[in-house]
C-alpha cells in the first residue's frame, strides 16, 4: 500500500494527434475512464433534462399560461422523467461505482472490462436513441416528435391507437437498449465485488460503499429484467399483433402497471442505495469516526433489498385492488421504513461524539440526512393507502419523489463529486464555490419542493399543462417556479467549479481528507493499473491502521 508508481518505458512519443486521444477514450476498457465517461454523459443529460424542467415550471408559473402547447408540455414531462431516471441518475451512480469499487477493494479493474465498455456504450446509445425521437418520431410524415406517454407509459396510451408515429417506439427501444447496459454493469459489479477483492478483504471488511453497490447491482438484475421484458411485449403489441396490453382485444392495462412498478419501485432503491453508499463514506471521514454499527448497516441494506421487491403495488392503490391486496402492500411499504430508519439513526450515531468538519461534501450529506428524513415521512403518509387515494398522482407525490431523488440522491451525488474530485483529477476544488453551490441550491431546492407539496394537498393532479384559477394553487406554483431558477443558478456554479478547479485548482495530493479507504492510498489521479503493489488489508479502515499503528482497527473488529 503506497503511492509508488511503475515507470513507463521511456519510448513514448512526445505529442500525439488529437484523434488519438479521442480514440483512446472511445476504445477504452479502463474502469476509471469508463466511470468518467458515465459521469460526463450523465452531466450532459442533466443539462438537457434540467432545461426541460425549467420550461415545465415556466408554463406552470400561473394558471392558463400558454408558454408551451399541451402537446409540447406532455413531451417535456415524459422526456424529463425518462432522461433523469435512466440517463442522468443511473449513469452517474454507475460512473462512481465503476470508478471507485476497484480502487476501494484493491483491484486493478472491474471483473469484465470489455463488458464494462459494452454496457456504457449501450447506455449511451439508448440516450441518443431517446433524443433522436425529436427528429424521427413521426417517421416520414413531417414534423418529428418526442414521446408523450409519461415516464411510466401506462397502457393503452402506448398502443398504436393512441400513439401514432414512432415516438413510443423510440422510448421503448431507448429503455430496452439502456436496460441491457444496466444489466451488464450490474453483473460486472457483482462479479467484481465478489471475486476481485484484495488479500485480507473479507466480505465483512469491505467498505460499506461496496456492500451497498453489491445490493444495488442485485436489484438491477432482478428489476430491470421485467422492464426489458415488458418493453419487448409492447413492441410485440405494436407491430406483431400481440394483445398483452391491448384492452380492446382482452389485454390488460393493469398488467403493464404491475410490470412497470415491479421494476419501478426497486428502481428507487437502485438509485438510493448508491447515494447511501456516498453518505456512508463521507459522513465517517468528516466526523472523524468509523461508521456506527457496520454490520447492522449491512443487514439493513440487505433487508431493504429484499423488502423493496415486495412493495411495488403501492404505486397502484387507486387502480382498484381489493382490500386484502391493498393491506398487504401497506404492510410491506411500512415495513421498509424500519431498515431505512435504522440507517438514518446509524449515520446520526456516526456523527455523535465526532468532530464534524463542514467541508462541502459533508454539507451536502448533512442536508441529505434532514431531507431524506422528510422524504421518508411523506413516503409513510402515502404508504397509508387511503391517504394515498388522495395523494397518489397529485403534486404531493411529485414533491415527495423529488425530495427523494433531488433532496436525497442528488445531494449525495454532489457530495460525492466534491469528495472524490481530488482523487479523479488530482486537483482540489474551490471550497468557496462549493459552499456557494450548496447554499444557492439548498434555497432553490426548498423553495421548489417544500411548497410543491401544498397544491397536491389542495387537489392539484400531476401532469397537467395548465390549471384553473380559483383553486388556491396559484401562489404555491409561483413560488415553486421561482425556486427552479435558484437551482439552475447553483448548477451553473457547480459546473463552473468543476471546470475552474480542473484547470486552475491546487494539486490535491493522494489523500486530502486524511481518509481511510484504499482509493486514498494511490496517486491522484490513479495510474491505469491503480496499485503498483496489490494491497493487503486487515480491517475495514486499512489507512487508519497505517496511520495509527499503535491503535489499529483490526484489534477491535
Amino acid at each position: 500500500m503506497s503511492t509508488e508508481s511503475i515507470a513507463w518505458p521511456s519510448t513514448t512519443v512526445g505529442s500525439r494527434p488529437f484523434v488519438d486521444h479521442v480514440h483512446e477514450w472511445i476504445a477504452t476498457v479502463d474502469h476509471k475512464r469508463l466511470g468518467l465517461l458515465y459521469i460526463g454523459f450523465a452531466l450532459m443529460f442533466l443539462m438537457i433534462a434540467g432545461m426541460e424542467a425549467l420550461i415545465i415550471r415556466i408554463q406552470l408559473i400561473r394558471p392558463h399560461n400558454d408558454f408551451v402547447s399541451p402537446q409540447v408540455f406532455n413531451r417535456l414531462f415524459t422526456m424529463h422523467g425518462t432522461t433523469m431516471i435512466f440517463f442522468v441518475i443511473m449513469p452517474v451512480l454507475f460512473g462512481f461505482a465503476n470508478y471507485l469499487i476497484p480502487l476501494m477493494i484493491g483491484a486493478r479493474d472491474m471483473a469484465f472490462p470489455r463488458l464494462n465498455a459494452f454496457s456504457f456504450w449501450m447506455t449511451a446509445f439508448g440516450g441518443l436513441l431517446l433524443y433522436f425521437s425529436v427528429l424521427g418520431g413521426n417517421g416520414l410524415y413531417g414534423a418529428g416528435s418526442a414521446p408523450d406517454v409519461g415516464w411510466f407509459a401506462y397502457a393503452p396510451l402506448t398502443s398504436q391507437t393512441f400513439s401514432i408515429g414512432h415516438s413510443t417506439d423510440f422510448w421503448t427501444l431507448a429503455l430496452l437498449v439502456s436496460g441491457f447496459g444496466s444489466i451488464g454493469t450490474a453483473i460486472n459489479i457483482i462479479a467484481t465485488v465478489l471475486c476481485m477483492r484484495c488479500p485480507g478483504m473479507t466480505l465483512a471488511k469491505m467498505p460499506l460503499f461496496a456492500w451497498l453497490n453489491l445490493v444495488m447491482a442485485g436489484l438491477v438484475v432482478l428489476a430491470v429484467s421485467p422492464l426489458t421484458a415488458a418493453q419487448i411485449m409492447l413492441v410485440i403489441d405494436r407491430y406483431l399483433g400481440g394483445h398483452f396490453f391491448d384492452t380492446q382485444a382482452g389485454g390488460s392495462a393493469v398488467i403493464w402497471m404491475h410490470f412497470f412498478w415491479v421494476f419501478g419501485h426497486p428502481e428507487v432503491y437502485i438509485l438510493v442505495l448508491p447515494a447511501f453508499a456516498f453518505a456512508s463514506e463521507i459522513i465517517p471521514v468528516f466526523s472523524r469516526k468509523p461508521i456506527f454499527g457496520y454490520s447492522v448497516m449491512v443487514g439493513a441494506t440487505i433487508a431493504i433489498g429484499f423488502i423493496s421487491m415486495s412493495v411495488w403495488a403501492h404505486h397502484m392503490f387507486t387502480v382498484g385492488m381489493n382490500a386484502a391486496a391493498n393491506t398487504f402492500f401497506v404492510i410491506s411499504t411500512m415495513a421498509i421504513a424500519v431498515p431505512t430508519g435504522i440507517k438514518i439513526f446509524n449515520w446520526l450515531a456516526t456523527m455523535w461524539g465526532g468532530k464534524i468538519e463542514f467541508k462541502t461534501p459533508m454539507l451536502f450529506c448533512i442536508a441529505f440526512l434532514f431531507q431524506f428524513l422528510i422524504a421518508g415521512l411523506t413516503g409513510i403518509m402515502q404508504g397509508a393507502a387511503p391517504f394515498d387515494w388522495h395523494l397518489g398522482n397529485s403534486y404531493f407525490v411529485v414533491a415527495h419523489f423529488h425530495y427523494v431523488i433531488v433532496g436525497g440522491i442528488l445531494f449525495c451525488v454532489f457530495g460525492a463529486f466534491y469528495y472524490w474530485f481530488p482523487k479523479m483529477t488530482g486537483k482540489m476544488y474551490s471550497e468557496t464555490l462549493g459552499k456557494l453551490h450548496f447554499w444557492i441550491f439548498i434555497v432553490g431546492f426548498h423553495l421548489t419542493f417544500d411548497f410543491m407539496h401544498i397544491p397536491g394537498l389542495l387537489g392539484m393532479p400531476r401532469r397537467i399543462y395548465t390549471y384553473e384559477p380559483g383553486r388556491g394553487w396559484d401562489t404555491w406554483n409561483f413560488i415553486v417556479t421561482i425556486g427552479v431558477f435558484f437551482q439552475a443558478a447553483a448548477i451553473l456554479v457547480f459546473l463552473g467549479n468543476l471546470l475552474w478547479s480542473y484547470f486552475r485548482g491546487k494539486a490535491a495530493g493522494s489523500d486530502p481528507w486524511d481518509a481511510w479507504t484504499l482509493e486514498w492510498s494511490t496517486n491522484s489521479p490513479p495510474p491505469a493499473y491503480n496499485f503498483a503493489v496489490i494491497p493487503v488489508v486487515r480491517s475495514r479502515r486499512p489507512l487508519w491502521d497505517l496511520k495509527h499503528p499503535d491503535d489499529p482497527d483490526w484489534k477491535y473488529e
Binding site: 392495462a253 404508504g383 397518489g392 383553486r471 388556491g472
Partner: protein, 337 residues
C-alpha cells in the same frame, strides 16, 4: 422542512372551519363519509410522522451543532466508537411498534371504505371516462348526461349514498373529487367501483387524475349535490325528450346533415352518436368542454367554430361552417334545454 408544519396548519384550518376552504378541492375539507374516514386516518398519520420528525430533526440538529469541530481543536481524533447492540435494538424495536400501529389504523380505514355495500336506496351511476370528458349514465333512472354529475344529498339518518361504476372507453382516467372521496381509476377492460355520500348540498370540483392524453388537464369534474326534491326534478327533466322548436329548424338541419351526429346524441332525432357527449339537455349544464368553459352562447359558438381555441388537442373537429351556419347551429343548440 417547513411543509410539515404548513401541512398540519392546513389540516387545522380545515378542521376548524370547513365552510370557506383554502381551496374548493382541499383534501382536508371532507364533505362525505369516505373522505371523512380518510381525513381521520390522515390526521393520525400526520400526528405520528410529525412526532417522528420533531424527535429525529432535533437529534440531527443537536448532533450537527454540538459535535462540530471547534476552532480550538487539539487535532486529536475523537474516541473511535464502532457500534452498540443495545442501541441498535432500541431503534429497531421502536420503529417496528410504530409501524404496527400505523398498519392497523390504515387497514381499518381500507376495510371501512372498500367493503361498504350499497343499501337498497343507493343511487347507482355508471361513469365512463373518455378522452377528454365524462359520460354519466343512471341505468335505473334512464338518464344519460355528460361532465356534470348530479346526486342527491345524503341525510345522516337516512343515508342515500351514490355508488359509481367506473369504466373507460379509451385510456386510463381517474375520478377525483377531493372533498367527496379519494381517487379511483377508470381503466379500460377493468371495471372499478367507488361511492360517495355528501352531507351538504353544493357543487364539488375535481378533475381527471390519471394522465390520459393531450387534454388531460382540462378534463374537469363537477358534482352537483342536490336536495332530494331538486334531484328528483332534475331527473324528471333529464328524462324528457329533446325539445322541438320550428324557429330553429335550419340549425337542426345543419346539425343533422353534418358529421355532428356521428358523435353526438339528441334523443328523438336521427342524432345517435356515442363518441361525444349526449346533447339532449345541453343547456341544462353550466359548462361545456368538460368544464373548460362556462356554457354561454359565445363560448358555445366559439367551441363549434374552433374547439382548439378552448381545448387544444380536443377530439372534436372544427366543422368549417360559415358564419350563418354557426349562428343557426348555435341557436338550435340553445333550445336543447
Amino acid at each position: 422542512m417547513s411543509q410539515l408544519l404548513v401541512l398540519i396548519c392546513g389540516a387545522g384550518i380545515a378542521f376548524a372551519d370547513p365552510t370557506p376552504p383554502l381551496s374548493p378541492t382541499n383534501i382536508f375539507a371532507p364533505a362525505s363519509t369516505p373522505a371523512k374516514s380518510i381525513f381521520g386516518l390522515s390526521l393520525f398519520v400526520l400526528a405520528v410522522t410529525g412526532a417522528i420528525f420533531l424527535v429525529v430533526f432535533t437529534l440531527l440538529l443537536y448532533a450537527v451543532l454540538k459535535f462540530r469541530k471547534r476552532a480550538n481543536d487539539d487535532g486529536r481524533e475523537p474516541p473511535q466508537v464502532y457500534g452498540s447492540n443495545q442501541v441498535e435494538l432500541a431503534w429497531t424495536i421502536i420503529p417496528i411498534l410504530i409501524v404496527v400501529a400505523l398498519v392497523m389504523a390504515t387497514a381499518r380505514v381500507i376495510a371501512v371504505v372498500q367493503k361498504a355495500s350499497p343499501p337498497g336506496n343507493a343511487i347507482v351511476v355508471t361513469a365512463i371516462g373518455h378522452q377528454f370528458w365524462w359520460e354519466y349514465r343512471y341505468p335505473g333512472l334512464g338518464v344519460v348526461t355528460a361532465n356534470e354529475l348530479h346526486i342527491p344529498v345524503s341525510d345522516p339518518v337516512h343515508p342515500a349514498p351514490t355508488f359509481i361504476h367506473l369504466l373507460s372507453a379509451d385510456t386510463d382516467h381517474s375520478f377525483w373529487v377531493p372533498r367527496l372521496a379519494g381517487k379511483t381509476d377508470l381503466i379500460p377492460n377493468h371495471p372499478n367501483t367507488m361511492w360517495i355520500d355528501s352531507v351538504a348540498t353544493g357543487v364539488y370540483l375535481g378533475q381527471c387524475a390519471q394522465y390520459c392524453g393531450t387534454q388531460h388537464a382540462k378534463m374537469l369534474l363537477r358534482v352537483y349535490v342536490q336536495s332530494k326534491d331538486e334531484f328528483d326534478r332534475w331527473i324528471e327533466q333529464q328524462r324528457q325528450p329533446a325539445s322541438v322548436n320550428e324557429a330553429v329548424s335550419q340549425g337542426q338541419r345543419i346539425f343533422e346533415t353534418t358529421a355532428c351526429i356521428n358523435c353526438h346524441r339528441v334523443s328523438g332525432t336521427v342524432a345517435d352518436g356515442r363518441f361525444g357527449p349526449d346533447l339532449t339537455h345541453l343547456m341544462s349544464r353550466d359548462t361545456i368542454a368538460a368544464g373548460a368553459a362556462p356554457n354561454t352562447p359565445e363560448n358555445l359558438r366559439l367551441w363549434i367554430r374552433n374547439p382548439n381555441a378552448i381545448k387544444p388537442g380536443s377530439l372534436m373537429p372544427a366543422m368549417q361552417l360559415s358564419e350563418q351556419q354557426l349562428d343557426a347551429l348555435t341557436a338550435y343548440l340553445e333550445t336543447l334545454r
